[in-house]
Symmetry: C2
Subunit: 222 residues, 2 copies
């Protein structure tokens, strides 16, 4: 889902509805998780593959009360417990699961499925390298700008007053996504508002007033 942190842009659910994959879904088991529930934790032996059917799931790393959000999965996204990270439901959700070993069997039986997987993993890899780039080279301000910019491109709604972005994340959640702290994000975002680049409007919505400016900042040339 969320801007630069998106792990893949293939929608597995849609793919599975295609001709050749038609009865593939029958191999999966549907599970439901309530908001805030943990879907899986890193390092617990069980190897499962998850496909999000409904809802949002946060994939994150933790370390001594700190948290870094790798991505937020949405409908059609896939993740496997043996990759790395923890998963938590951000809202009530339905998940299709399958044993990793079983999934591997499917991979063997349906060659084109593993081509899909190659694509999925390639996307994941490219995106995680984007994250590395941000952390290694860019300042918090650029990372926020990049985060907002990508979200704007993907989700921004054109209105008569400008591009509006519905941002259903707390300051702290944004901090976890860009690898910073609540306080820093707070003042940086306020800074953007003072510069007239964005403007908060009612209820977690922000109006992006200067998209180009955001884009430029995202590149990190300060």
């Amino acid at each position: 889902m969320v801007g630069r942190m998106k792990l893949t842009d293939l929608n597995l659910i849609e793919i599975f509805q295609q001709n050749e994959f038609e009865n593939l879904v029958t191999n999966f088991r549907e599970k439901h998780f309530a908001k805030k529930e943990i879907l899986f934790m890193e390092g617990t032996g069980q190897n499962l593959v998850y496909i999000v059917k409904k809802g949002k799931v946060k994939i994150y790393l933790t370390y001594e009360e700190k948290e870094f959000t790798l991505t937020i999965l949405e409908k059609g996204d896939i993740y496997a417990t043996h990759t790395r990270g923890f998963a938590q439901a951000l809202e009530d959700c339905s998940i299709l699961t399958i044993e990793a070993s079983e999934f591997q069997r499917l991979l063997k039986e349906v060659p084109s499925l593993s081509m899909v997987m190659v694509k999925v993993l390639g996307d994941c890899l490219r995106n995680s390298i984007d994250i590395i780039e941000g952390l290694a080279f860019k300042q918090a301000e650029s990372r926020i700008a990049e985060f907002l910019y990508k979200l704007t491109i993907r989700r921004g709604k054109e209105t008569n007053s400008g591009v509006v972005l519905k941002l259903s994340l707390t300051t702290e959640e944004i901090a976890a996504l860009i690898g910073s702290t609540r306080q820093t994000v707070s003042s940086l975002i306020n800074g953007l508002e003072k510069e007239g680049i964005i403007e908060r409007i009612e209820k977690k919505n922000i109006l992006i007033k200067k998209v180009e400016k955001l884009e430029e900042m995202a590149k990190g040339m300060n």
Copy 2:
């Protein structure tokens, strides 16, 4: 090759020598690159897949004279130009290349090959998440400790005076691998020596005196 930054631990060269892949190699073209030569740059349209047959290749990101090394490929490692990053030969090397489109054709024809690719990409992904974890949570000192620790485990040679590590990297190259600067790495490593954890012996070789201590520091609990 290099500790934590290793992208994959499958040796493609060996795999290709197996029965079922026997004549796969014939699809590749062998190229040679001299030390310091650039194999490919990010964003140049051409899509190639590279397999290292001989030598070492640095995969890195750059940004305004800065550099971050994602990994150093060795014999049997694979990389694709469309993933991300630049590639430079660290020593003279032989590379097997193939057009990405051609490679995709092979993937279709040889299903078990794409299973190998799923494994390779999975490894890459897991490793890049390790890098993210280091950058997001750990201090430079822990990252160096981790770097040395992993290298010790993989490459350290037991001798009568302790575990010896041949480190053919400059301070600056280490800095690029852990995401820091020459100066910081220099003083941190000297610190490790003063604490009696490591000891430089002749010619880029270091003696690891307290492996457990390194391991502990690598976890980042300061």
